[in-house]
């Protein structure tokens, strides 16, 4: 049952078309083209005997040689072709192989009789000691200027297009878009006699051509090579531009030679060219890390990839384990890692040192400028110069800080998948609405906030959102929404996580807290304090353990990890309308927003995030329990009084609380009053780690150099409180019930 497509032309008609002198001569490419088309149709014709094939192939080969000007004797070849074609057309078929004898079975050694190619593109002659620089006489300055401008634009487009290529290495159009600029630059460089540029773009073009034809895959290594070539081209263009006025340019041909040498030894399957100390993570590792796929699945895919000769990402996508999008994200991440290694991969310790030193520079500067003798200088130029100095150091500080900042995007993106999975597992429709992914955050923190966010989102899906039926029944959109946003506000990053679920149930929380003995049955708590109880260790109101949020990890762990980042986590909720968590993080771990206080001759910095309020108590607010335990009553709340001077062994100015100052801090659901002499002011300080001698002192987290050059110690509230509790004092739980 053959399917008839097009009524096929009779073979005889095709043959006679061949003979009708369709080709006027070897210069008549259009005729040759027509002839080749007819030959191909004859070849494909069902009535064509197999014995003709050889002759037809031979004719095609000869034509090809003529077309490409590779034939050593075009007119002789032309004669041969004519004979064969005549033979075909004359009696309907070539006389029993007679033509074959006239034809060579293989093309004659094709002599490259190229048109004059001043550059020797095929380039075998460049081996003998290349010059380190190429001297170029710039004849047509205006044309070269145009070329530089346009080439730059095209190079910029390469960098853009590489992105989409990364996302999909098989994207033909993307490969082409990267290929094209090299091709164009090469073409023009050929005319302008810019040898180095021509040579470089030619080689990269060849590499990309192989990628286009599918001969090689666009691996990360290939992308590396392309990006390096772009960099070198930029350098060459710059050199060219700089020399425009002088009529002669020296181009760094050595740079190109080095590159081309490494290109020769280049294996696209290799993870990278050149020396790299640290290997980029494997795609599989990234996928596992993101929780997109189980480690076992990756192992299996690796095996299969080997067997099938494919990449692991391809295998995962083909087997329907992952979407191509997921793999692309992982690839991009891997790529980003490599980019870092290629350009700004710096040991974070060095980066921290830099930030530290810049911080000290700022302080040293203010010490100098605040020196009374310096301030007495009336010289106007000095005034102007010191303003300039301040401006530069401030900018330097800003830049050095920004070196450690990365967009929060990568963390957010991992959560998309999480929500999708949770939604499937729990049978609840969930939409994730994200904003502010571009917000930048200290790279030390970006990893740390992932886990807390995962927990909160799990809780939101499991506890917060209702089932679609429940939602429909109360007139809500059956699809629940989780809203995640990040923004920079002042010196903080605010991450908001909100759901439109049922909200926190104050009644249930209270019952649970009483049952767990966290509060007394008759305790009066503000709603806020009640909600805050969910951060208490082990607290959970959900009756049954579910697959989604599981058991064990509670919100207490989440709050603790946020606090370890010197952040703050707060919750608010409207019954029936949802729950909102606000995560407030410092912009960076290197700087702390602190309150400088003074105890005796010493100065300390209390992180403002830990500080609730400060006040001078009345005599009546001070009391002792059991004759020894000092308590202070703040707004009807009784809290232990911790004497900082005792803790650090200094002599204070005031020993009576009503003369001194109380700093109220919160730690682990409890409040404490820290006794200090006075508050000096609020200040941002650069945290410096303490020397070996002080590192293990409880209650201190670091040191800072203040504006006047003196050192202040930074208090670690958690350490102070635990030091106090371990010192034989009783906990706060009991005390609160007294209140």
């Amino acid at each position: 049952m053959a399917v008839e497509h097009v009524p096929s032309e009779p073979l005889e008609a095709l043959l006679s078309r061949l003979a009708d002198g369709v080709v006027a001569g070897p210069d008549d490419l259009m005729g040759i083209g027509e002839c080749l088309n007819v030959i191909e149709r004859i070849e494909a014709h069902e009535n064509t005997p197999d014995t003709w094939k050889e002759d037809l192939e031979a004719v095609k080969r000869l034509f090809r040689g003529i077309i490409l000007e590779e034939s050593s004797d075009p007119s002789a070849d032309w004669e041969k072709i004519r004979d064969v074609l005549k033979n075909f057309a004359g009696n309907g078929h070539p006389g029993s192989g007679s033509a074959s004898q006239a034809l060579p079975a293989e093309p004659q050694a094709a002599v490259q009789q190229q048109a004059a190619c001043p550059l020797g593109v095929s380039g075998e002659e460049t081996h003998a000691d290349p010059p380190a620089s190429e001297e170029v006489r710039l004849e047509d300055a205006e044309l070269i200027k145009d070329f530089i401008e346009e080439a730059k634009e095209h190079l910029a487009s390469i960098e853009l297009n590489i992105m989409s290529l990364e996302a999909d290495p098989k994207d033909k159009e993307a490969i082409n878009a990267v290929f094209r600029p090299f091709h164009s630059i090469k073409g023009v460089a050929g005319f302008l006699n810019l040898r180095s540029i021509h040579h470089l773009s030619h080689e990269v073009e060849n590499l990309l051509d192989e990628a286009r034809s599918g001969a090689i895959d666009v691996t990360d290594a290939v992308i590396d090579v392309v990006l390096r070539a772009v960099d070198i081209l930029k350098v060459l263009l710059q050199e060219l531009e700089a020399a425009l006025g002088c009529g002669e340019a020296k181009l760094s041909a050595g740079l190109v030679e080095n590159f081309l040498r490494s290109l020769k030894a280049f294996d696209p399957a290799q993870p990278s060219v050149g020396v790299r100390t640290e290997k980029p993570p494997k795609v599989g590792e990234i996928l596992v890390q993101k929780g997109l796929v189980e480690p076992e699945a990756v192992e299996q895919a690796v095996e299969e990839a080997k067997e099938r000769g494919k990449k692991i990402g391809e295998v995962l996508v083909e087997d329907g384990v992952l979407s191509a999008q997921d793999v692309a994200i992982a690839l991009r991440e891997q790529r980003r890692f490599q980019e870092n290694t290629a350009s700004v991969r710096v040991d974070t310790v060095k980066l921290d040192n830099l930030v530290d030193m810049v911080g000290e520079l700022v302080i040293a500067q203010s010490m100098v400028l605040q020196n009374p003798e310096v301030q007495a200088i009336k010289d106007q130029k000095f005034q102007k110069d010191s303003v300039q100095l301040r401006r530069i150091t401030a900018e330097l500080q800003r830049i050095s800080m920004s070196l450690r900042m990365v967009p929060i995007k990568s963390t957010f993106q991992k959560l998309i998948r999480l929500v999708r999975d949770l939604s499937k597992k729990s049978g609840k429709d969930v939409r994730l609405d994200m904003r502010g992914e571009e917000t930048e955050i200290d790279r030390n923190m970006v990893e740390e906030i992932y886990e807390p966010l995962v927990h909160m989102i799990r809780n939101a899906v499991d506890h917060g959102l209702e089932t679609p039926e429940e939602r429909k029944a109360i007139g809500k959109d059956p699809c629940g929404t989780i809203f995640l946003s990040a923004e920079q506000k002042g010196g903080n990053i605010i991450i908001e996580l909100r759901d439109d679920g049922r909200g926190l149930d104050a009644r249930k929380i209270r019952a649970k807290a009483v049952e767990r003995g966290l509060i007394g049955p008759d305790d009066v708590l503000e709603e806020r304090a009640l909600f805050d109880l969910i951060f208490h260790p082990g607290f959970s109101t959900k009756d049954q353990v579910t697959d989604v949020s599981g058991r064990g990890v509670g919100m207490d762990v989440v709050r603790r990890s946020v606090e370890e980042l010197r952040g703050k986590l707060e919750v608010s909720s409207v019954p029936g309308h949802g729950t909102r968590f606000e995560l407030k993080l410092p912009l960076t771990m290197a700087i702390i927003d602190g309150m400088v206080i003074c105890v005796g001759p010493e100065r300390y910095v209390v992180p403002t995030v830990a500080l609730r309020e400060s006040l001078r108590p009345s005599r009546e607010a001070y009391l002792t329990v059991h004759g020894s335990e000092e308590m202070i009553k703040v707004r009807n709340q009784l809290m232990p009084l911790i004497r900082l001077h005792k803790m650090f062994g200094v002599t204070p100015r005031y020993t009576d609380p009503w003369d001194a100052l109380i700093l109220v801090v919160n730690e682990d659901q409890k409040s404490y009053g820290l006794l200090a002499d006075e508050i000096i002011g609020r200040q941002e300080v650069v945290i410096k780690s303490l020397g070996a001698g002080l590192r293990h002192v409880k209650g201190l987290s670091g040191g800072a150099i203040l504006g006047d050059g003196k050192v202040a110690l930074i208090l670690d509230v958690k350490g102070i409180v635990s030091g106090y509790e371990e010192g034989g004092h009783h906990g706060y739980d009991r005390q609160r019930r007294v209140a």
Partner: protein, 122 residues
């Protein structure tokens, strides 16, 4: 005689134009890709097309196919500009009835030689 020069790289168009001027072609219009060339071909009377191969949106080969399939333009001399590395493609172009091709970089003399082969003699 009106020539249409098609190339996505402006500098390249300029180079081709300079060479054509040297050969005494004064009336030259430009297009930055095949699609733009089609618009010009539809609205103006062109006598010769000199087109690059690799362009975004519509390649030289696609343009050639359009030209040959269109009554108004099917007999126009079409000179394809190609690079040494892309010579293999030329057979493709020949099958699509390109008039001739020229390999970059070329001199005015080579261009003249090619044009002599494809332009109507008079």
């Amino acid at each position: 005689m009106k020539v249409l020069v098609v190339d996505d790289f402006a500098t390249m168009r300029r180079i081709v134009k300079n060479i054509l001027r040297e050969l005494d072609f004064k009336d030259i219009v430009e297009a930055e890709n095949g699609a733009a060339a089609v618009k010009i071909l539809e609205s103006q009377d062109i006598d010769l097309i000199v087109s690059d191969w690799n362009m975004p949106k519509m390649t030289g080969l696609e343009l050639l196919k359009w030209v040959r399939a269109n009554d108004k333009t099917k007999d126009l001399p079409f000179l394809m500009v190609t690079a040494e590395a892309q010579k293999e493609n030329v057979v493709e172009a020949v099958k699509a009835k390109v008039s001739n091709y020229i390999v970059k970089p070329f001199t005015a003399a080579v261009m003249a030689e090619k044009l002599a082969k494809i332009l109507p003699q008079n």
